[in-house]
């Protein structure tokens, strides 16, 4: 078990080093940061001075070593755009992204699972058919279009919900939350629907096909033969067994929701890390881009590590082979 985890950790470290290298490579290939920082009419001597003070003239291996050394300590330097510490900028915006992602995931689960169950139980019902059609739209429409349509309807035409921003937030230590104010809740509705729509349709389709499959199995027939109520059969036996893959997918999708909230955050001006990343790209703010890449890489590596360990705990077959490998 411990050998298995150590092996996984070593792999994770290698992956992180590769991510760090890609992040670092940006410093060389995404344009001249001095041109961005300095604006058009900074005198020549000061440009040279700036290059020197940013360490842009050192040889590449030296700069990479310095980058990794600082990154390990969580130091990514100052943003070229705002002159604030990059680590602080990302930490400040992380709560917004996490809250949005979690609400989006909850919306996706709370709507997707019941819809999937219903269309699995009654595949020929007109409601199921229309749900399938709607879900097709959810999968095929691009996120920014859905967002803008929602804004047009609920903000411009009806005027019920705000078109942008996060509303009023309350600070709880390091964490800023929008869950404690009315305007915060109002503001999260449209973006979370936009962000969660794709996951919702994914979950619905997954639950539906799993339900269809499970309902054909022998133990469901036996359960019916025992004279259990439909409710007990559907929710006590069938749904429970469909949920294993749903949980796996949800875990993995949460990572991608957080990482790919960029578009939704841009459309709704949601002040999270995705928006920060996009603005940094426009300003060629390489320290922020690099830190974001490393942070998202870290997130995925962590999620995968946890999933691997969970499989190991759940699946006895893996455990025995792992034990053997450890014994060698």
């Amino acid at each position: 078990m411990i050998a298995f985890i150590i092996r996984r950790l070593v792999q994770a470290a290698l992956v992180m080093l590769a991510v760090a290298f890609i992040a670092f490579a940006m410093f060389n290939y995404v344009g001249d940061p001095v041109a961005i920082i300095a604006g058009q009419d900074l005198p020549a001597e000061q440009r040279i001075e700036l290059r020197k003070s940013l360490g842009l003239d050192d040889p590449t291996p030296v700069r990479f070593a310095r980058f990794v050394g600082n990154a390990v300590q969580g130091k990514f330097g100052l943003s070229y755009r705002t002159a604030e510490p990059v680590g602080k900028m990302i930490l400040e915006r992380l709560p917004a992204t996490l809250e949005l992602s979690i609400v989006a995931m909850i919306v996706a689960l709370c709507v997707g699972i019941p819809m999937g169950v219903f269309s699995g139980l009654y595949p020929r019902h007109w409601l199921s058919r229309s749900m399938m059609t709607v879900s097709l739209i959810g999968i095929s429409l691009p996120t920014f279009l859905i967002g803008i349509l929602l804004i047009l309807i609920f903000a411009v035409l009806l005027g019920w919900l705000p078109s942008f921003g996060r509303g009023d937030v309350v600070k709880l230590g390091m964490w800023s939350t929008g869950f404690l104010t009315v305007s915060g809740w109002k503001a999260v509705i449209l973006p979370s629907i936009t962000l969660g729509l794709f996951q919702m349709t994914l979950i619905m389709r997954l639950v539906r096909s799993e339900m269809l499959e499970v309902l054909r199995t022998d133990y469901i027939k036996f359960a019916r033969a025992r004279g259990l109520t439909n409710r007990a059969v559907h929710f006590g036996h069938a749904l429970k067994n469909t949920l294993v893959p749903v949980i796996t997918i949800t875990g993995l999708q949460l990572g991608s929701i957080i990482a790919f909230a960029i578009i939704t955050e841009t459309v709704f001006s949601w002040p999270g890390v995705g928006l920060l990343f996009l603005q940094s790209v426009q300003a060629v703010d390489i320290p922020v881009m690099a830190a974001y890449l490393v942070a998202i890489g870290m997130l995925f590596v962590m999620i995968n590590l946890i999933v691997d360990i969970l499989y190991f705990v759940v699946d006895p077959r893996l455990r025995s082979s792992g034990a053997k490998a450890g014994a060698k």
């Binding site: 995404v30 344009g31 001249d32 041109a35 961005i36 920082i37 300095a38 604006g39 058009q40 009419d41 900074l42 005198p43 020549a44 001597e45 000061q46 440009r47 040279i48 700036l50 003070s53 940013l54 360490g55 600082n70 130091k75 330097g77 100052l78 070229y80 755009r81 705002t82 002159a83 604030e84 510490p85 602080k88 900028m89 400040e92 915006r93 920014f144 803008i148 804004i151 047009l152 903000a155 411009v156 005027g159 705000p162 078109s163 942008f164 921003g165 996060r166 841009t266 459309v267 709704f268 001006s269 002040p271 928006l275 920060l276 996009l278 603005q279 426009q282 060629v284």
Partner: protein, 539 residues
Amino acid sequence: MQRSKFLKATLVAAVATVALLGAQPAAAKTFKWANDGDVNSMDPYARNETFLLSFNLNMYEGLFRRDKNLKLEPALATKVEMPSPTVWRWTLRQGVKFHGGEPFVADDVVFSYGRAAGKGSNVAGNFVSVKEVRKVSETVVEIETKYPDPLLNDKLSQIGIMSKAWADKNNAQFTADMTKNEENFATRNSNGTGPFKLKLREPDVRTILEPNPTWWDKPEHNLTEVIFQRVANDATRIAALLSGEVDMVYTVPPQDTDRIKRTAGRKVLEAPETRIVFLGFNQQLDELPDTSVKGKNPFKDKKVREAFYRAVDVEAIKRTVMRGQSRPSALMIGTGLNGYDQAADVRPKFDPEMSKKLLAEAGYPNGFETRMDCPNDRYVNDEAICQATVAMLAKVGIKINLVAQTRAKYFAQILRTASDIEKSPQISFYMLGWSPGATYDVHNVFESLIQTPSKASGKGLFNAGGYSNKAFDALADKIEQETDKAKRDAMIKEATKIYLDDFAYIPLHQQVVVWAAKDNVDLVQLSDNYFPLRFVKMK
């Protein structure tokens, strides 16, 4: 009878006054506005960019400020004298207090100029001519320059004065140092003397200002609070204006102006911006990169440059690409700036037939092939303008391979490097835009874009194509130091004629600055795209 009438009138007036007085505190005027980007820092010297300077000059003030017609007027200085051509002496306004309560004194001016010219500052370019800043007394400050600099007051109007005591206390004596991993106090806080003070700063989310109750001047605005929010997405920003969540949006994409005009209760404001967008030729290399002409550079021939000039139809670009939102220009400087010469602002006629004739005379009867470099995210519709130009030049036989790329890569490729200013970048035909930033004067255009790039003088850094005319260089150097306005204007006229006759560049147009607001907001739109909140009134 007469008496009672008078009494009645007095009474009515009194009641009205009371009602007005009573109404004032209740009618909180909160002005909400949005832009696509945030103010990158609260430090007034952090970046040399219009939006940051403009925003922070609501909180910080310079010795001078610009009025509604962009003319200088006294702000923190009340009197200016020149004891000698290289010494400026200012008498400071008395009784002014910073937002934090510190009295405004000469030390603050000396400190601020040192900070703005010093380490980490991005506005140090304004102090190139400055030799020394001296405190003469508590209320008098002097600057000695290395050579006569008639534009010093213009440059200094952009430099807001910061409280020395405050900066010392909070360890913000220098603008943020990019090499360290700690932020500067002044990045998120502010302490100036201006009409507004900072109430709340949440970077990239919102910045809230409130009026400074102890401001020295009588406020023209009637605001009680200003909320600035950043809405990055164009469609969302316009939606926020249409739904009434914001009172004003600062940048409006051209395609949305018609829709806003059609909406009841919303208005669009348009004014030509000071920036000129133009096309340039490489006139320095002996052979152009990526071209069919070997062994010589066709752009060294004035006839070829004129042929290009006459083949480009700016009116068509205005009509189609810019949707009417441009002002074609023959000059390299925009309207409303010092040195703009209306008599000279007449473009040589658009004439493709003459272009073909000129090309044939120059030895290219069948045209030639070359490359054009263009940004795709810097100026309004930049790439589309280049595409239109390529099509127009194709009609006179010039085949152009267009390379359009993002600004960071673009500028790195086409601009001269400061350390090796005389070396030509590998470009042949390109697009650039220029606004004479700090000075609002044509000399900035001359020294940056038209004078010969030279290591010795540091001029011509943005003259990417390397146009060079000795007579022009000599005139521009004289203009820089001439303090007699009549003589200076005459020389500007002469210099302007030289670069126009040489077809040094193809000036295209001034972009139009487009803002949109609710009908109940009264604001002044300046052509430098600055947005001083002190002119905003809400009904």
